[in-house]
């Protein structure tokens, strides 16, 4: 559940930027003959609706209805008593209470004159919750409801300068928090508490942790539940959201002497980042020097970060200018090493950049 600061800064993200994103989606709707696009949101799948409206539900679920000729409409399962808050933090047309989202969608489409049985696109149709999807399909006709995931992905990247600035701010919050971790931190509870205090005071909407407590034993990054002692070397990965914009920052940290192989891994990582920013993912070799495996993630759909590529396989093509997170592991003689960082991809004669925070 979100419990950090959820807000909308009109200075950081002007309404015109959100309007332009909706217009890009509408152009695609028009090309594909869609009467409307539906975008479902919960805090597990918040990314598409947030990108279009700046809205993320702290709780419960909602559906954004994008029609050709009016501002996006939010159907919210949340109580109407928080509609005022929804309007504070979002750029929307109507906000309508819809305890049953499917019926709300059907009623809204009818009210807006959308002809029954005309083609509807759903961003991420396959993962749409059954309680929403099944009644919708039954009433509207399964054949008339198509997956708009590809359409959305085609307009989602590259990122604009506002998104880049917000992601950079998220990175800055994460970097500041990591820099403030006491050098003698002994366990994951103390580590997380130091991070948490820093990022939330700085206005982070959310922070998720994964920690490999002892890199001499395992490089697997674990969820923090309970308390684990930290070994002489550990890895910390923070996923930080600032006003709905997510980045990851991961690093390996040694409390004593730097383990053998780390410098080479770090050099390999830095070189790979530079190459990604210069040439894009196609410029990266499957096995960069010093690294054992890597992943490249970007926001392409309903989740904040989607796996786009690994050292073995490409799952989604990222255009130059895409905001992405590069993560890499190294298996070393004395243990493991991990790092991750955000950047924009280069390629096609365009230079990207490694975010600095």
């Amino acid at each position: 559940m979100r419990r950090g600061l959820m807000s909308w800064s009109r200075e950081e993200l002007p309404a015109s930027v959100l309007d332009e994103r909706v217009a890009r989606l509408r152009a695609g709707m028009n090309r594909e003959g869609l009467a409307a696009v539906l975008a479902y949101t919960s805090f597990a799948e918040p990314a598409a609706v947030h990108w279009l409206s700046n809205f993320t539900p702290y709780w419960s679920e909602a559906m954004l209805v994008v029609l050709p000729d009016e501002a996006p409409i939010l159907l919210a399962s949340l109580t109407p008593r928080v509609h005022g808050w929804i309007r504070e933090v979002s750029h929307l047309g109507e906000v309508v209470s819809a305890p049953k989202l499917a019926q709300g969608v059907l009623d809204m489409l009818a009210a807006k004159g959308v002809q029954s049985g005309s083609r509807l696109g759903v961003i991420g149709l396959d993962s749409l919750p059954a309680a929403v999807a099944l009644p919708l399909m039954k009433a509207w006709g399964t054949a008339a409801i198509v997956d708009a995931a590809s359409l959305f992905a085609s307009v989602r990247q590259p990122c604009g300068k506002e998104e880049l600035a917000l992601a950079d701010r998220a990175l800055g919050i994460a970097r500041h928090a990591v820099a403030g971790v006491p050098g003698d931190v002994r366990n994951t509870s103390a580590l997380a508490a130091a991070i948490e205090a820093s990022v939330r005071a700085a206005g982070a909407e959310e922070v998720l942790y994964r920690v490999a407590p002892d890199l001499s034993r395992s490089g697997a990054l674990r969820r923090l539940e309970g308390e684990f002692p930290l070994g002489p070397a550990y890895a910390l990965e923070l996923s930080v959201a600032y006003k709905g914009h997510w980045i990851r920052l991961g690093s390996s940290r040694a409390r004593g002497e730097t383990p053998a192989g780390w410098e080479a891994a770090q050099a390999g990582f830095a070189g790979s980042l530079a190459r990604l920013a210069e040439e894009g993912a196609d410029g990266l070799s499957a096995a960069p020097a010093g690294l054992s495996r890597w992943t490249l993630e970007s926001c392409l759909g309903v989740q904040p970060l989607t796996l786009a590529r690994t050292d073995e396989q490409e799952f989604a093509r990222l255009p130059p200018g895409s905001l992405a997170v590069f993560s890499a592991h190294a298996a070393l003689d004395g243990g493991h090493w991990y790092q991750s960082a955000p950047l924009t991809l280069g390629g096609g004669g365009q230079r990207g950049q490694v975010l600095r925070g």
Binding site: R3, V132, T188, L224, L307, T310
Partner: protein, 369 residues
């Protein structure tokens, strides 16, 4: 969590599957609805969808990313975990290859539609009811976990109260509490709050508003320990409470006591709600216990933060070791939005109030942060 509790849940689950004639149970989840997966395999997804397959003598899990697969495999070395970016397509293929009449699929509300439209989807309601029954009717060990989470809620509320000061912004206040919760090994907390006067009609995530003298500061604080949530609802005043605030608050004290008095085996959630609402109605405040002003009069507590609702039309019968929060939270036309709620455990003869934080309308100093 303890292997003993995990095994206990696994044994109950497989016994229920056998009674239901299921050879295979497929359970889906994500970061929002992780409770069914948590029950079945003790797994909490952080990102993406996850699909668990449980048979009489085996279990395995599919997730969407290598990071999630590696994480869960490290957390549960005995569990088989694989990943695929085409998770739902692969899971659907697996479902299409089994006997649907011997396969359960849950939960019915949040399972991805690609899986729900398989032949096994026809039995989703029954499989979900089976799991709901297991999760609502807890074992003593599960109720013990909720009790432990209540300790965090009590201590956490004292941290919140101590941090509430004039001039502090809402999100800074919550940030201080969250940092404390991390020191306790608590990974998750559902929390909303409100601050201000009579203009406040509900709670929501913390905003940028600075606390001011005379504010009513409300919160629902719901920490999670080993997957089990417990909730406390309290209202405090920054500075000395007014006579109007104190008089208004008495209705909530009476309603909470009346509700808790109805928590006993054989009574229903509806009885608990009605007892609370009757107090408001006796004070001429019946309008304020309608959906216009409030949502529920409490709800089950366990692996999901918002279990079966305490409403007058809910006929869920209480049994020992069920756990719930009783909270007559609503708007008062004189004082504003007030919350007050305790987590309780049903016992053989009545209930045990787990929350220890005093119920009175307490103050925090009105001095500047």
């Amino acid at each position: 969590m303890s292997a003993k509790l995990r095994d206990e849940r696994g044994t109950r689950l497989r016994a229920a599957m056998e009674r239901a004639g299921l050879d295979l149970l497929v359970v889906t989840g994500n970061a929002w609805r992780s409770d069914y997966l948590r029950y079945a395999l003790d797994v909490t997804p952080m990102e993406g969808q996850a699909v668990a397959f449980v048979t009489a003598d085996d279990a395995w899990l599919m997730v969407e990313t290598p990071a999630e697969a590696e994480r869960i495999a490290a957390e549960q070395p005995g569990l088989k975990v694989e990943w695929s970016t085409d998770l739902l397509v692969r899971a659907r293929h697996a479902l299409d290859a089994v006997r649907p009449e011997r396969t359960g699929l849950a939960p019915a509300h949040s399972t991805p539609v690609l899986l729900a439209r398989s032949a096994a989807g026809a039995g989703m309601q029954a499989a979900t009811a089976m799991l709901d029954g297991l999760m609502v009717r807890k074992t003593a060990a599960e109720a013990d976990r909720v009790e432990q989470a209540v300790r965090l809620a009590d201590e956490g509320y004292e941290v919140f109260r101590a941090a509430a000061r004039v001039g502090k912004r809402e999100f800074e206040l919550v940030g201080e509490l969250e940092a404390w919760l991390r020191t306790q090994g608590c990974p998750e907390n559902f929390m909303i709050m409100g601050s201000g006067g009579k203009e406040v009609r509900t709670m929501r995530p913390p905003g940028e508003r600075r606390l001011a003298e005379g504010d009513l500061v409300t919160t629902e604080l719901t920490p999670c320990l080993e997957g089990y949530y417990a909730q406390i609802c309290r209202t405090l005043v920054l500075g000395a409470p007014t006579r109007e605030q104190l008089d208004s608050y008495q209705v909530y004290l009476d309603a909470l006591e009346a509700g808790i008095a109805e928590v006993k085996p054989g009574n229903t959630h509806g009885d608990v709600a009605r007892a609370q609402n009757d107090v408001f109605r006796r004070h001429g405040l019946g309008e304020y216990v309608t959906s216009k002003y409030t949502r529920v009069r409490g709800h089950g507590m366990g692996l999901y933060v918002d279990g079966p609702h305490v409403l007058e039309d809910v006929d869920l019968v209480l049994e020992p070791d069920m756990t719930l929060v009783v909270h007559p939270n609503t708007y008062h036309p004189v004082a504003g939005y007030i919350v007050l709620g305790d987590t309780v455990r049903v016992t053989a003869s009545g209930c045990k109030v787990l929350t220890r934080t005093p119920r009175e309308l307490r103050s925090a100093p009105a001095g500047l942060a």
